[in-house]
Symmetry: C2
Subunit: 318 residues, 2 copies
């Protein structure tokens, strides 16, 4: 039986092994992805993002548990992406905490991904891992990233529904960040809402939403006005309301053709990413190393500029 057949048949050990192959971008991983790709497109992909200190991981754990309780027939996968750990195995620690919270539920599968090496590598390997889990039959896939910045944008490109998590009292310059994040959020969660300042945080978010989506009060059937919800994930408060809004957003997307639009954008971004890395790999194969080194040395001595170096390298002249 092929790996793909094992995955489609629900073999969890084969799934874990294939995810490692996929993360390492091996030929075995690529071949299995080719076989599995026709079986993708069924899962609801939910991205969860926010700054450190907002309690994202706890929220994701409670969300998974509540989803499982309310819909026992739907399986949930968690992909925890940690772009800030390029060097160390920080993601593993996070895994162990997770395991404790969700242990014993065979309808939940948890996977951590750490950034490795090149730019774009993490976005690509996360997209591939999500494809495997989608084909494996997980109806809901929660994709969590730590950190603020480009990673949020990449998540928004990967998910049907993007949840941005905030918390009270994370300082003033967080305001500068929100402007960009608000434009990718479908749902905004003020977590740790039992802390002082939760009302201010919620008010600030609503004010910024109003600025970002002017004249749009949620009464319009055509467009989705991002929702603001309060949760206390550590106590499990507000999670059921969050689940309702998540499914409301999925219904909205399916009704408005937004679902297919996001699917296509995601597939297209994945293709562009893969195309870039393949073009570079092919170019490297035909480049004589000594020629590359020679041009690099001239660049180090500042005899040529980076643009001139690229010209020499690609046109094979000097």
């Amino acid at each position: 039986m092929s790996i793909a057949e094992d995955i489609l048949g629900g073999d969890r050990l084969a799934l874990a092994r294939l995810l490692t192959q996929v993360e390492n971008d091996t030929p075995v991983g690529r071949a299995a992805l080719n076989d599995l790709f026709p079986h993708t497109g069924q899962a609801h992909l939910i991205g969860i993002t926010g700054s450190p200190g907002t309690g994202k991981s706890s929220l994701v754990n409670h969300l998974a548990r509540t989803l499982r309780q309310q819909y026992p027939d739907r399986r949930v996968a968690i992909v925890a992406v940690d772009p800030s750990s390029p060097f160390t195995g920080g993601a593993l620690l996070c895994d162990r905490v997770r395991m404790r919270d969700l242990a014993g539920d065979s309808g939940v599968f948890i996977r951590s991904m750490a950034a490795r090496g090149a730019l774009g590598g993490l976005a690509h390997s996360t997209a591939s891992a999500v494809q495997v889990l989608d084909a494996a039959g997980f109806e809901v896939i929660l994709i969590e990233t730590v950190g603020a910045g480009q990673s949020e944008v990449d998540i928004a490109r990967l998910a049907h529904t993007t949840i941005v998590v905030e918390a009270p009292g994370l300082g003033d310059d967080i305001q500068a960040i929100k402007a960009g994040i608000l434009e990718i959020a479908d749902i905004l969660v003020v977590n740790k809402a039992d802390r002082a300042g939760a009302e201010n945080t919620e008010r600030a978010l609503r004010a910024m939403l109003e600025l970002a989506h002017p004249g749009h009060k949620g009464s319009d059937e055509q467009a989705w006005m991002p929702r603001v919800l309060r949760t206390v994930a550590s106590q499990g408060e507000g999670i059921e309301a969050l689940v309702s809004v998540i499914f409301e957003h999925a219904d909205y997307l399916k009704r408005s053709a937004g679902w297919q639009k996001r699917e296509r954008e995601r597939i297209h971004n994945n293709l562009v990413n893969l195309l870039q890395s393949t073009l570079v790999a092919r170019w490297q194969q035909q480049m004589p190393p000594e020629r590359y080194d020679n041009i690099l040395q001239r660049l180090y001595r500042r005899e040529i500029s980076p643009y001139q170096a690229v010209d020499y390298l690609i046109n094979l002249e000097d």
Copy 2:
């Protein structure tokens, strides 16, 4: 007179204009960078990074002011990189606050960069902006990023000296992040050190440093043990001590050949980044759009996988 000559002659208006050309990657910008590149390599590049809420921007402002007071003959440039604002002009707001703090000092030049579009784009345009400022004769260039994650790693690749800013009370899961960040930090700053918990934050950082650099107490002349400093940037406290340690680190790098090593890594990374985008652009030029669309449609229908699509696109077969 060419743009490069204007820049080398100290024309600030020409400098501001060229930075816009460079950010938009225009032919004029590229030509000027070719002319300016031989004049680069003089500046001390200092990266400052940390999570939202740590007071980074205030720290950078005070650092610039203190540097100018202590060394009036050295000019300081600030490049504020905001990877979280891909859509909106958040960086501009930050600029105006800056202008107020440092207005009137012609030895300070401030520039904000916002992420635009593709992955790697910001790293590339920031590297180019830094080259222009280096050639323009700024002895110290402070490169500040908002956010946690890949952006920190990119900064570490761009700077001689990397400063990671923390603050007390930013939550628990920040610990998970620190493991990765610690490996890029040359100097760790606990800002807002007048707040409750500053001692705990400092102790935690020192404990993690000890883990990351075991048996290494700073007595060894050969290696740099990252320093931990406390500041209250809003009051200007601790900034002079920070300036001393920054120059100590520069001396260490020059003594140990680390300076040249970091220069070369930075130049090499810049080359690889530029090579990737150039290869993709060349490929796009020779690709018939209707062929691309055809393969994309087959991918959308899941008749082929992303890897198969890339094969078809690059090998020009179906």
